[in-house]
């Protein structure tokens, strides 16, 4: 090989990176995905998707006018979890439930005072939930029992001194779902930027015919791949910083870890995310196929198999194994650690290593599959 004909040349790489950066700056869709989409997703996950129960319409059927019954009804009204609709008959409550205006109702029976005095604790009141929304029905049942339990405890407290169990939740004292949803949402955003954007990259060059002209120059495959990745890597980090800043300031999710650790973790995640996108792009050669593949193999697993919405420990064993090849799984864990706990490097480092390893595999595959020919 003649001098200057080596397979890697900084000048060529610099030229490609400059071109890619100019394209990023001129392409409004990139700005939209990298900067507007995170804001929309964060808004969605903090306001629209909430796993907390708050102001759920609950019917309270009061069939007994005694002091105790009145006091229990008041206890229901007093919690922020329920918006109480006072009712007189079961019939009225059942109608409202069927009409979808109530998520459940509680019946305080006629013989409530008698049951209470007899020391009966089971079947004191009846709780009815709307089984067509199982999640909410569960919440209604559990919270209603909680309210009754606390009310009983308070009454007992004034009479005798029975032991009271007061729950405490570590890391997220108010059990606010936003605090673990927002880190998960950030992982989704980064998956979209990393995998979806990069999946379109090489495919776009094939589609527009620019790859053919590029292939006929001395440029090498490594330079083509690196020239695409580096600008998008930086773009990803910037988008991550902006999204985190938003989470901390606007959405008031506390970040317990350091910004440096956050950057390091994000950088580690971008390696497999971009690598996966590039691999899809190299194989697909067509933006439509690439976008579909990126959604199916990048976005959906990041959503369902990362532990962001569904806990990995409660998945069937084969699916649990599958989650190990989803880079977002490690990223979600790292982000939740950083946001809820802090810089616990013993937890972060193994996950970072796993992400880098996955990234390496994706890159080697992409490098093998991208040839400098049109065959």
């Amino acid at each position: 090989m003649k001098p200057g004909h080596q397979t890697f040349d900084w000048h060529r790489l610099a030229g490609l990176m400059r071109k890619e950066s100019l394209q990023i700056m001129r392409d409004p869709s990139v700005a939209l995905i990298a900067f507007a989409l995170p804001v929309i997703l964060l808004l969605l996950f903090t306001y629209a998707v909430s796993l907390d129960i708050r102001q759920v319409p609950l019917g309270v059927v009061l069939q007994n006018d005694g002091e105790a019954a009145q006091s229990l009804a008041a206890a229901f009204s007093g919690t922020r979890y329920f918006r109480v609709v006072p009712l007189r008959t079961r019939r009225a409550a059942a109608d409202l439930l069927v009409a979808g205006r109530l998520r459940g109702f509680v019946v305080i029976p006629q013989d409530f005072s008698r049951r209470l005095q007899s020391g009966m604790r089971q079947g004191l009141v009846q709780v009815v939930g709307d089984g067509s929304q199982p999640n909410t029905a569960n919440f209604v049942a559990v919270y209603a029992q909680g309210v009754i339990g606390q009310w009983l405890a308070a009454r007992a407290d004034s009479a005798t001194t029975a032991p009271v169990i007061e729950p405490r939740f570590w890391f997220n004292p108010d059990v606010e779902s936003r605090r673990f949803l927002v880190p998960g949402a950030l992982a989704i955003v980064m998956t979209i930027i990393g995998t979806l954007l990069s999946a379109l990259l090489v495919a776009r060059e094939w589609e527009r015919g620019t790859m053919e002209a590029l292939m006929a120059t001395p440029v090498s495959v490594v330079e083509i791949l690196a020239g695409k990745l580096i600008p998008y890597f930086l773009l990803g980090l910037i988008a991550m910083l902006i999204a985190t800043l938003l989470s901390v300031t606007v959405f008031e999710v506390p970040l317990r870890g350091s910004w440096l650790a956050l950057l390091a973790v994000s950088a580690c995640f971008l390696v497999p995310a971009l690598g996966q996108g590039l691999l899809i792009s190299v194989l697909g050669k067509n933006q439509f196929v690439a976008a579909q593949a990126a959604l199916l193999t990048g976005y959906l697993p990041a959503f369902m198999l990362s532990g962001f919405l569904f806990e990995i420990d409660s998945m069937p064993l084969p699916v649990q194994f599958l989650t190990h090849v989803v880079p977002a799984r490690y990223f979600v864990t790292c982000l939740q650690t950083l946001f809820l706990v802090g810089d616990t490097w013993a937890l972060l480092l193994p996950d970072m290593g796993a992400m880098l390893l996955l990234g390496l595999v994706f890159f080697l595959l992409a490098r093998r599959k991208l040839h400098k020919t049109l065959e």
């Binding site: 004909h5 060529r12 030229g15 620019t210 053919e212 292939m215 120059t217």
Partner: protein, 588 residues
């Protein structure tokens, strides 16, 4: 421009050929794209890779650029093997793909910068080189413009500039003349001439046979095989004394052509403006043709043979003059007034006026051509006439139906054949025919009868179960025409119907069209292919949204004829007319 620094010195020109092809074969699946091609291409020369679409031109160009590997045989470019020395090969070759391969969303100068870096030019050398290339390509005033906003011709020049970066010894240009108007095409020729005279080997692939005549040497490809290699004159010389021009025959020139083509002595014949151009078979008697000419009260004069005559002769001559299609097609009832008309037809896209107050009337049984460079407004006008786009102002009528009010009625009166043939690749030939018959409202016995008729006329019997995509170009074109004519429309619209088509298929196609016109069908053709313009009765030349000239092809030619150019070709006339508009604009 002085290209001495761009091109390599010529001293080793004799030592080594630019490219040597040895028994090169390439197949894609079951299709053999190239079959045992051997040739030697010299330095300092323009070599044309000539042939119709699907002949294997692009495959050969990509093989020479090292983008494909030959299945058999060997290719050496400047002594480098395209497979083993692929990395070094890209330093000595410049390659311009058929599709514009540069980045449309970055500027002209940024594209140059990118390619300078990819070809390893230090930034110190760049500015001087860019200035020279921009001057050479006359792109200097547009260097800050985004490449996507350049015209077709300017894009090709930019592609050429990028391919010239890094002083290649061999320049490979894949169909640089496609989508380029005649004015820009001339400039490309000028640049290529300058490069070859400095010792560079330039390989120019083309489907236009008139371009082949400008090359020093040609490789003529036909269905993957090398049909001829050598100077174009070597091929045309064989035709010496066999080509004749018959001036304005009395009556319908198309019927005279059909009669001439039916003579056993005649190898080939085409309409040329008002006259005919006829080629005799080798060693055949001239008398029957001379007799036909005297019956037609036409003067017969020998003319120099063209490359295309030679190609048709090489392929065994063109088809006869009878169209089975026209024989089956019922005569269209007489229609009073214009069959297609535009009145002040205008279409704006934002502030850009794509079609600007266009007026014309097409009579029944006329072939009317809409000519113009890319972006002149041909397609926009055409789409409005098809009812695919509504006019901003003005009016368009087909068979008296206003396209603004009665789109459905107007559409039923017209057949449309698109350049890319709107056939469904996932349906078989039979299913395509059935689909189009259904779309045009045929059903039951009438439908199957019409389909059988089309299958018979276009000889599609053997291909009914095949997918259109797997068929040769010529058969696909027949199928597309069959689909467009399924409902026997009185008006037929053709969008660049025979650009890039091999000459035999093209003649067959025009024989059908001539036959249809005889039955009273009105034809509207859009094209930037000059050959097609010759078949038209009248031609409207569009530039920047306006019709700048509208007349018979011969009248347009004589409009620009002068002492320096007594007998201009259609292309020369086109260039002159466009230049006149440009000149009058500059003076106002």
């Amino acid at each position: 421009m002085n290209t001495a620094e761009v091109a390599i010195p010529t001293q080793d020109a004799g030592a080594q050929p630019a490219i040597r092809l040895e028994l090169v074969s390439k197949r894609f699946g079951a299709r053999e794209a190239l079959k045992s091609v051997s040739a030697t291409l010299a330095r300092g020369r323009l070599t044309g890779v000539v042939g119709p679409d699907g002949a294997g031109k692009t495959t050969l160009m990509r093989l020479m650029a090292g983008l494909l590997k030959p299945d058999q045989g060997q290719i050496r470019v400047s002594g480098l093997d395209t497979v083993q020395d692929a990395d070094d090969l890209h330093f000595v070759t410049g390659y311009m793909p058929q599709r514009f391969g540069l980045y449309e969303d970055i500027s002209v100068i940024e594209n140059l910068r990118l390619y300078a870096r990819l070809r390893g030019l230090a930034s110190g050398e760049q500015s001087e080189l860019f200035a020279r290339l921009l001057d050479f390509t006359r792109l200097a005033p547009f260097q800050e413009r985004l490449a996507g906003q350049l015209s077709g011709g300017m894009k090709q020049k930019l592609g050429l500039a990028c391919a010239l970066m890094g002083e290649p010894e061999v320049l490979l240009l894949d169909e640089p003349g496609v989508g380029v108007d005649p004015v820009s095409r001339q400039e490309l020729w000028r640049m290529v001439d300058a490069l070859t005279s400095d010792g560079m080997a330039v390989i120019w692939s083309t489907a236009y046979l008139d371009e082949a005549e400008r090359c020093a040497e040609v490789l003529l490809l036909e269905q993957g095989q090398l049909a001829y290699a050598g100077a174009p004159e070597g091929l045309t010389r064989r035709l010496h004394g066999r080509s004749y021009h018959l001036s304005s025959p009395q009556g319908d020139r198309r019927s005279w052509l059909a009669q001439a083509l039916e003579l056993p002595q005649v190898c080939d014949g085409v309409i040329q403006g008002e006259g005919l151009r006829v080629v005799l078979r080798q060693g055949q008697d001239l008398a029957p043709l001379a007799d036909l000419a005297s019956r037609a009260a036409s003067t017969m004069t020998p003319v120099p043979p063209r490359f295309e005559d030679a190609f048709v002769d090489l392929l065994g001559g063109g088809p006869g003059g009878k169209s089975v299609l026209a024989e089956h097609f019922p005569a269209v009832p007489r229609h009073e007034g214009a069959t297609v008309s535009c009145r002040g037809l205008t279409r704006r896209f934002g502030s850009f006026v794509a079609t600007d107050h266009v007026d014309f009337d097409i009579r029944q049984g006329e072939i009317f051509g809409l000519l113009g460079p890319n972006g002149a407004g041909k397609s926009t006008t055409f789409r409005m006439l098809c009812g695919l786009l509504s006019p901003s102002s003005g009016e368009a009528r087909v068979m008296g139906h206003d396209l603004a009010r009665a789109v459905g009625a107007a559409k039923r009166q017209l057949g449309y054949m698109a350049q890319k043939f709107s056939l469904y690749g996932l349906l078989s030939v039979q299913q395509n025919l059935a689909f189009f018959a259904g779309v045009y409202g045929l059903s039951g016995a009438a439908k199957s009868e019409r389909i059988d008729e089309m299958v018979h006329i276009f000889q599609l019997e053997d291909h009914l179960a095949a997918s259109p995509d797997s068929l040769p170009f010529g058969i696909r074109q027949r199928l597309a025409l069959a689909c467009a004519l399924m409902h026997r429309p009185p008006v037929l619209f053709l969008d660049e119907p025979t650009s890039g088509v091999d000459p035999i298929t093209r003649r067959e196609f025009w024989t059908h069209i001539n036959g249809l016109v005889h039955k009273g069908v009105t034809i509207l053709v859009t094209t930037h292919f000059m050959e097609e313009a010759e078949y038209c009765d009248r031609v409207a030349l569009m530039v920047q949204g306006r019709v700048i000239a509208l007349d018979k092809p011969d009248a347009l030619k004589s409009q620009v004829a002068d002492a320096a150019m007594p007998d201009p070709t259609m292309e020369q006339a086109f260039i002159r007319l466009i230049e006149r508009v440009g000149a009058s604009k500059e003076t106002t």
